[in-house]
């Protein structure tokens, strides 16, 4: 049977160091070949073999990931189609990036249950299991619907509705001038359209930024390590930033060499704020303290509040407690290798529902628990509990990105003086993609809009 080529993340997010992205369909090998560079082209390798190499973005030439790629040719595969599995690092950022590259190069994001469906349709799965396959599709779809419904209440879908309304009004205006050329409706000008598209593009950009998931996937969970001087922030930082995990970025336009560091904690990307500040000032007592902590809190999604096990709480600690209330806080009591001088009950009283972790950066104890606490906080309920929720979110981000690109195409069409009905092709695509995010079908909406917005007749 002839299908198109689909792709999806096959392993649950956030677990384990390795993720698998599965690509299936007649163009699976060709698609991955476009972005893969290794010893041999995948189209020339034997079936059921694994290859080491790197993925590149063909647009920019940028190296994206270090990967192992398995090539399995039809029919001895799960779907009985050509299947390529890309094994990459398990962090959300890298998985997303790889999936996106694959989707950009000719595959389509798989529907819920689609691999299994294909396996069945291609005769891989026994007839007796047909009912089970139907149930699976049903269940996965219902779950996805539930997620979508939850978001219907949300700000995201309200914003998307608004964007779609903006787009459809512009589209109706264009369509009227196309279908009723002699009607006294003002022609849509290139400038008007460019403005509209730019507006929508910026809104989508903002959406992608504010959508928490999107932001985290792209930028990492913005994390502040706060505490008064000499509690061990620096050594804790060093424990988190182990050589093999750390990605230290050089942020352009700043005078300091390094102001942010990325670490991948059990699949959660953390963006540690002002690590340079911590390192530089750890010894200079007067420069770091309450004020600095307050400042860092402003941009933090996650707060790691560090206390000293070996000292009683000070007025500065209390001031920082006050500042940190209401944030996602993990309380870390460091230096448990030294005698206890801190009143832990008092700390718990201030942060009753927050995790409290005892660590010794020096002896490397408690770091595991800390990492688990971070992962739990991030994945609990929101992301990991249900892998479908994640898929659905990833789908939304993917759709939003595609919509953004479609609007971009529209703008470049306008800039290249393409006729308005050509530009409309990309605008309509953006509108449809946005509709998919909130599960609204295409239908007769546009025609309805034309006739409610304009007065036409014989």
């Amino acid at each position: 049977m002839e299908f198109d080529t689909i792709a999806a993340v096959a392993t649950p997010m956030g677990e384990g160091g390795i993720a698998v992205i599965r690509v299936s369909g007649p163009d699976a090998i060709e698609v991955v070949d476009k972005i893969y560079r290794g010893k041999r082209k995948l189209s020339t390798v034997e079936s059921h073999t694994i290859h080491y190499g790197h993925l590149y973005d063909p647009q920019t030439g940028e190296r994206v990931e270090e990967v192992l790629v398995s090539v399995m040719r039809a029919p001895r595969t799960f779907t009985r189609e050509d299947v390529v599995e890309v094994n990459c690092h398990g962090g959300i950022v890298s998985v997303e990036r790889v999936l996106e590259l694959i989707l950009d190069n000719g595959a389509r994001l798989a529907e819920p249950g689609e691999f299994t469906k294909r396996a069945f349709l291609n005769g891989r799965i026994d007839l007796s299991q047909a009912e089970a396959v139907i149930d699976l599709i049903r269940a996965k779809t219902d779950k996805a619907m539930k997620v979508a419904l939850n978001q219907v209440e949300g700000k995201l879908s309200r914003l998307i509705r608004k964007l779609r309304q903006n787009l459809i009004e512009a589209m109706a205006h264009i369509e009227v001038t196309l279908d009723y050329p002699e009607h006294d409706v003002e022609e849509v000008t290139q400038n008007f359209l460019r403005e509209k598209c730019t507006e929508v593009k910026e809104e989508i950009g903002r959406l992608l930024q504010t959508a928490r998931q999107g932001k985290i996937l792209r930028e990492g969970l913005s994390t502040a390590i706060i505490g008064r001087p000499n509690v061990g922030k620096s050594s804790l930082l060093n424990s988190l930033v182990q050589e093999e995990k750390a990605i230290v970025t050089d942020v352009a336009g700043t005078t300091r060499d390094v102001i942010e560091e990325y670490v991948n904690v059990r699949g959660v990307p953390l963006r540690l704020i002002d690590t340079a500040g911590i390192r530089e000032t750890e010894d200079i007592v007067e420069k770091i303290g309450v004020e600095k902590s307050r400042q860092l809190l402003q941009e933090a999604d996650l707060v790691l509040l560090v206390l000293n096990y070996n000292e009683p709480l000070t007025p500065d600690d209390y001031a920082i407690f006050d500042a940190a209330k209401g944030f996602q806080v993990i309380v870390i009591v460091n230096k448990v290798d030294l005698p206890q001088r801190i009143d832990l009950d008092e700390v718990r009283r201030h942060f009753p529902n927050r995790p409290l972790i005892l660590t010794s950066a020096r002896e490397e104890t408690g770091i595991d628990q800390l990492e688990r606490a971070i992962a739990d906080l991030f994945f609990s309920g929101r992301v990991q509990q249900d892998d479908l929720t994640y898929v659905s979110n990833a789908r939304h981000i993917q759709l939003l990105r595609q919509a953004e690109r479609a609007v971009d195409d529209a703008i470049s069409g306008i800039d290249n003086l393409m006729p308005i009905d050509m530009v409309q092709i990309d605008i309509k695509k953006a509108w449809e993609l946005l509709g998919e995010v909130i599960g609204e079908s295409v239908g007769e909406d546009l025609i309805d809009q034309i006739f409610s917005q304009f007065c036409l007749g014989k």
């Binding site: 069945f120 047909a130 006729p419 009905d421 006739f451 007749g457 014989k458």
Partner: protein, 631 residues
């Protein structure tokens, strides 16, 4: 019913000789079927009861498609029009559209004469009252005078005649269009046969006397001064054209309407039928768009040998005295003489989801329907369906499979697929926005899309087909040349032509195709740089330019088509019991049972059917096929 007599036997009988019926009868006869065309009034063959025009966006595309398939509407318009204009010339090639002002009377006479001269075709005046149906198969018709005609296939094109009712102010009476006799008994016969019917409404504006119009207060709308034609075969062009005129409604017009709304059948509840949103009456426009200070009104001649003019934009069912007052409130119409009042007309149509995509009814084998009876409006929509119904009736008689045009092939395909898959809640009008592959369904390439099919079914002559193939070859050859010819900056004329076109000069070697993709560069420019070895005909140059210039967009559309086609290749057996498919939503099961889609692609376009339903259906079908194979 009176005593009946055997009146003859035909392959195909077409009931109704409007725009659908004429095309159906001509197609069937030309395909070699003995064909009978019956009409209530011989003087109403190809009658235009409303606007005297043919074409425009989407509709004009359909006329071109009809011509490429060997239909008559384009040729008939080319022979009789009083004006032609290409619309949307400032926009992309996909929405360029030819529109003709028709000479209503000449159009009718020409069409009637063509029919009369066509071999295998008999035109006769008769009112059909009953279909002869045995065991679910249509075997003929019985007329009011008792004539029994037997047939292997029947095409029903009843227009607005079916239980037609004219409404004008408080006045209402049973009537077909323009006071023709309505068809009443046939409507009941269809109900008895089990067809689900709906009641639709449409309307027409008043007509006025030309000599009573002061054109000095209006804007003139002349035709194009270049030769234009719908048909690819037309060689003689009418250049002596009549203009149309534009005026506007004003506050006083709107006041007149608003103060008489209580007398408007639209608002008093007399009208039950659903009217089209895209053709609202003037009273509807004034009420719904009350903030609009004026509406356009065009005055269009109804023909060369008449003083009667059509007042486009003023469709109404208000009482006659109000109609006159509205007209006289407008600039240039202060002293106008009204010749006929406008009116609304209600009529019966069948719910079109009861049809197969071949336009054969699911309920009665051998019975085809086309035109307004299927819920559409517009001469062109009717003609397009009529042609397909005629073709498929003839093919049925000849034992051949039906011809079904795809949504990526023709507006006619879009139209029929919309009707039979989605149905319609109002009289359906084609719009270019209904076509998802608009860029592929251009006015200019109707011949490239459809001539092969027209030839295969036997409606395109050998000679025409040879000419067409030659054109197609020339296009490919010239495209090849343009794509493979390199231009160097130091070649003669190159920079000069670019400068003159306001285009940046060349700094490196590129091919002609790349140059042609610049917005300001046309095919004419590039042949000034590197002339073709042999002169390239204009219609070939047009194709080369469009196909290369918009190549990026065209390819995007083709990719989408590819996906859709894969879905359409998955056929659904007719005996599927959708109620058995547990994983499908209730709505999807019900809709699919009713519509019985032919393939997965069609199923996915049914409203209320979501992608999960389609996935489940595919799994079910696989299960079904495997069980079948095992048995």
């Amino acid at each position: 019913m009176n005593a009946t007599y055997e009146a003859g036997s035909f392959d195909v009988i077409v009931i109704g000789a409007g725009h659908a019926g004429c095309e159906a009868a001509l197609a069937a006869a030309r395909m070699g079927c003995s064909t009978l065309l019956l009409t209530i009034n011989l003087d109403a063959v190809a009658f235009m009861p409303c606007n005297p025009s043919v074409g425009g966006p989407a509709k004009g595309h359909v006329v071109r498609e009809i011509d490429a398939l060997g239909g008559e509407m384009g040729k008939n318009t080319d022979k009789t029009h009083i004006q032609m204009r290409m619309l949307n010339t400032g926009k992309g090639p996909a929405v360029h559209a030819l529109r003709a002002q028709a000479d209503k009377f000449a159009y009718q006479h020409q069409m009637k004469h063509t029919i009369e001269q066509t071999p295998n075709l008999i035109l006769r005046q008769a009112m059909v009252e009953e279909l002869i149906v045995n065991n679910g198969v249509c075997e003929g018709v019985i007329t009011q005078t008792g004539a029994r005609y037997s047939a292997k296939a029947v095409v029903l094109t009843t227009g607005t005649y079916l239980r037609g009712k004219i409404i004008l102010g408080d006045l209402q009476y049973e009537s077909g269009p323009n006071n023709m006799r309505p068809s009443i008994r046939l409507a009941y016969n269809l109900k008895e046969l089990g067809f689900e019917m709906v009641r639709f409404k449409t309307g027409t504006p008043p007509r006025v006397h030309k000599s009573s119009v002061d054109f000095s207060k209006m804007e003139i709308q002349p035709g194009d001064d270049v030769p234009r034609a719908f048909s690819y075969e037309t060689t003689e062009f009418i250049m002596d054209q009549l203009p149309c005129w534009l005026t506007y409604t004003n506050e006083e017009t709107h006041r007149t309407i608003n103060s008489n709304l209580h007398r408007a059948p639209m608002y008093s509840g007399i009208i039950e039928g659903t009217g089209p949103r895209y053709c609202p009456s003037i009273e509807d426009k004034v009420v719904r768009f009350s903030d609009k200070p004026r509406h356009q009104v065009f005055l269009e001649p109804e023909g060369r040998h008449t003083e009667e003019m059509y007042v486009q934009g003023m469709s109404t069912s208000l009482p006659e005295d109000v109609q006159l007052a509205m007209l006289r409130s407008m600039a240039g119409l202060e002293n106008v003489k009204m010749m006929r009042p406008g009116y609304a007309i209600e009529y019966d149509a069948i719910v079109p989801t009861q049809l197969w995509p071949s336009l054969e009814t699911k309920l009665v084998e051998g019975l085809f329907t086309a035109g307004q009876i299927n819920g559409t409006s517009g001469y062109e929509e009717a003609a397009g369906q009529g042609l397909m119904a005629g073709i498929n009736a003839a093919r049925k008689v000849q034992g051949k499979p039906p011809v079904i045009l795809g949504r990526e092939q023709a507006y006619i395909g879009v139209l029929i697929d919309d009707l039979v898959t989605k149905g319609t809640n109002e009289p359906y009008r084609l719009l270019t926005s209904r076509a998802e592959y608009r860029l592929l369904l251009r006015h200019d390439n109707a011949d490239l899309r459809l001539t092969d099919i027209g030839y295969e079914i036997g409606l395109i002559s050998e000679e025409r087909y040879r000419k067409f193939c030659r054109k197609r070859e020339l296009i490919e050859k010239e495209k090849e040349r343009v794509m493979n010819t390199r231009v160097r900056p130091d070649m003669p004329h190159v920079q000069e032509v670019l400068r003159a076109a306001g285009s940046p000069e060349l700094t490196e070697v590129i091919d002609l195709a790349q140059l042609l993709r610049r917005p300001e560069i046309t095919y004419q420019h590039i042949i000034q740089m590197v002339p073709a070895p042999e002169p390239v005909p204009e219609e070939v140059a047009e194709q080369v330019e469009i196909q290369i210039k918009y190549d990026g967009y065209i390819r995007k559309s083709l990719q989408q088509v590819e996906r859709m086609k894969k879905m359409e290749e998955r056929r659904i057996p007719d005996d599927i019991d959708y109620h058995q498919i547990a994983g499908m939503s209730k709505e999807a099961r019900e809709k699919m049972s009713k519509i019985r889609p032919l393939n997965i692609g069609q199923a996915s376009r049914i409203s209320g059917v979501n992608p999960a339903d389609i996935s489940v259906l595919m799994v079910y079908l696989e299960q079904y096929n495997r069980v079948r194979t095992a048995e």
